[in-house]
């Protein structure tokens, strides 16, 4: 296996993403966990850049890092959630069972994915694959009905939330 610059960059990014993903569940402070999630999403965007998918990477950063996680953090700060000291048990059977199931799931997935991935050397998309022009034209020709359906769904969500918030308290 040759050590190419792409591989080094991938290794660094993937390592950081995996570490911060572990941090999401490892930290007890909710703000720290949310920040780890932010960092994971941010690094995922860079992984897409490394695969020459600028559009997807930027969308990842705009939508997840820039919008959704700011709202998450906003809510966590508004509720002022600190570290939880109450919910700690010394011997918890859930931990053992959960660990067993988790390892089993990881082995199952790895057995399907790793044999395929191990042959891949420096995956790279075609030059125009995933550029804004291509995505736009496909979105507005082949996938125009799903696209419109999704937009109606989002509109329903907005109208519903306004309806819930508008209800007078009297």
């Amino acid at each position: 296996m040759k050590l190419t610059p792409e591989l080094i960059i991938f290794g660094m990014l993937a390592g950081m993403a995996a570490l911060s993903a572990v941090g999401v569940v490892a930290f007890k402070n909710a703000v720290r966990s949310a920040l780890c999630l932010v960092f994971t999403f941010f690094i995922l965007g860079f992984l897409y850049f490394a695969l020459h998918m600028e559009m997807l990477g930027i969308t990842q950063i705009v939508v997840y890092t820039g919008a959704i996680m700011v709202l998450f953090l906003f809510v966590i700060m508004l509720l002022n959630l600190g570290a939880s000291h109450v919910l700690e048990e010394k011997s918890d059977p859930k931990k053992v069972v959960g660990l067993t199931f988790g390892v089993a799931l990881a082995v199952l997935l790895a057995s399907q994915i790793v044999p395929i991935l191990i042959k891949v050397q420096a995956p790279k998309a075609m030059p125009q694959f995933g550029s804004p022009q291509v995505i736009g034209s496909i979105l507005f020709t082949d996938y125009v009905y799903p696209f419109e359906a999704v937009s109606v769904l989002l509109l329903l969500g907005i109208v519903g939330s306004v309806l819930l918030a508008k209800r007078r308290l009297s």
């Binding site: 610059p5 703000v31 920040l35 932010v38 965007g45 600028e54 559009m55 930027i58 969308t59 950063i61 705009v62 890092t65 820039g66 919008a67 700011v70 709202l71 953090l73 906003f74 700060m77 508004l78 550029s131 804004p132 306004v162 918030a165 508008k166 308290l169 009297s170």
Partner: protein
Amino acid sequence: MDWLRSLDPTLQDVLAALGRAILAIIPVFAPVPFIIWYERRLLSWMQDRIGPNRTGNITFSRTSKMIPSFLKGKKFKLFGLAQSIADGIKLFTKEDIMPTKTDKFLFILGPLIALFVALTLGGTIPWSGDRRFTPVADINVGLLYVMAISSLGAYGLVLAGYSSNNKYSLLGALRASAQLISYELAMGVSLAAMVMVTGSLKMTEIVAAQEGPLLGFIGFLPNWNIFTPFGLVSGFIFLICIFAETNRPPFDLAEAENELVAGYHTEYSTKRWGLFMMAEYMAMFTFSMVFSTVFLGGYHLPLRWEAIGMDFMTSIENSYLGGLSVMMLKGVVGLTLYIWVRATYPRFRYDQLMNLGWKFLLPVATGNLIVTATWIMITKVYGAAPGWMFSFGLYAVAVAVFVLLRSKKSTQYLDTRSVDMINQPARRTVDLVESKPEEVPA
């Protein structure tokens, strides 16, 4: 330079990218002391004060034997330019105070994120026509990159406010994040209209699209987006939004002194406070650059030199230093506007801020987007004249609808129906008072 060419091509690319990154950071980083001095002096002039005008002046003695004779009694004026440098030295050598109950890691991280955002924001802006030097990365999502990075700016303020463990800081941070999220929408929609006009998200292509004759027939003026009706509306909205994104007056609710001490940076002092200030000024400057790239033709001057027979100016503009100076000039114009607005307008109230963002800027930007799309479609199908007629008709309809919606009756209707977070508690208490029997006088 031959040894550079003998290197591995990948390493050459990496070195070139590093060089471009340094060239993109220096023009933003170096003028910061000058920008601060400029703001203080201009603001003083507008407020009929003097401002910092004498730090760094040197007057040599008339009588001392240590002074050479040609310097005796000479005065050297720096017009107070050294004031910012003196302030910087003071900030970096002061005792570093961190309150005890802060979240230390996040407390340090906050200003660093703000600085990161300010420095990387200009990554896709072309500073000149010379593609060897700028932009750092001419990716085909350049404008989206600016949106993405500026949306990260909320984290710096939010983390600073949260980690300070101070209620005023937290309130400032909450205000900042709500404000940034609200104004990002209008900013995105206003930029989307310009992307449709240009047909590309690449910053270099947005600049190139503004080189043609104005509206296709006025030969001596370039087709700057701000000169077209769609661009004028978009540019106006984008300008307001960048004021809000950089937390500058009249949108500086996150650090409203008379309500929140100093908002999100109440607990900050010394270097970290200095980093926040530097990040703010650099973000101001870079956003001015984004504005001039998208709306003011980038590194070009507002004349088409080929049309008036001055071709040599084109090559000057396309050289690195020429383009850089034009961009700097536009940046200074943008900064002047920032300072002018700061001297003119008082700070908004919070509900005014939200109303402006959601009820004025977003609908106007969306209307502009629809008119622009219609104009492009009709011009492509039927030609230019029907396109212009139709788009102006649509603008008239949009203005009529807007006036109708803003008329007194409908405003009252909307007010009673809308979710007004500020007024709701008051209404609730009124209901309570009414339901009580009036036996107990207050």
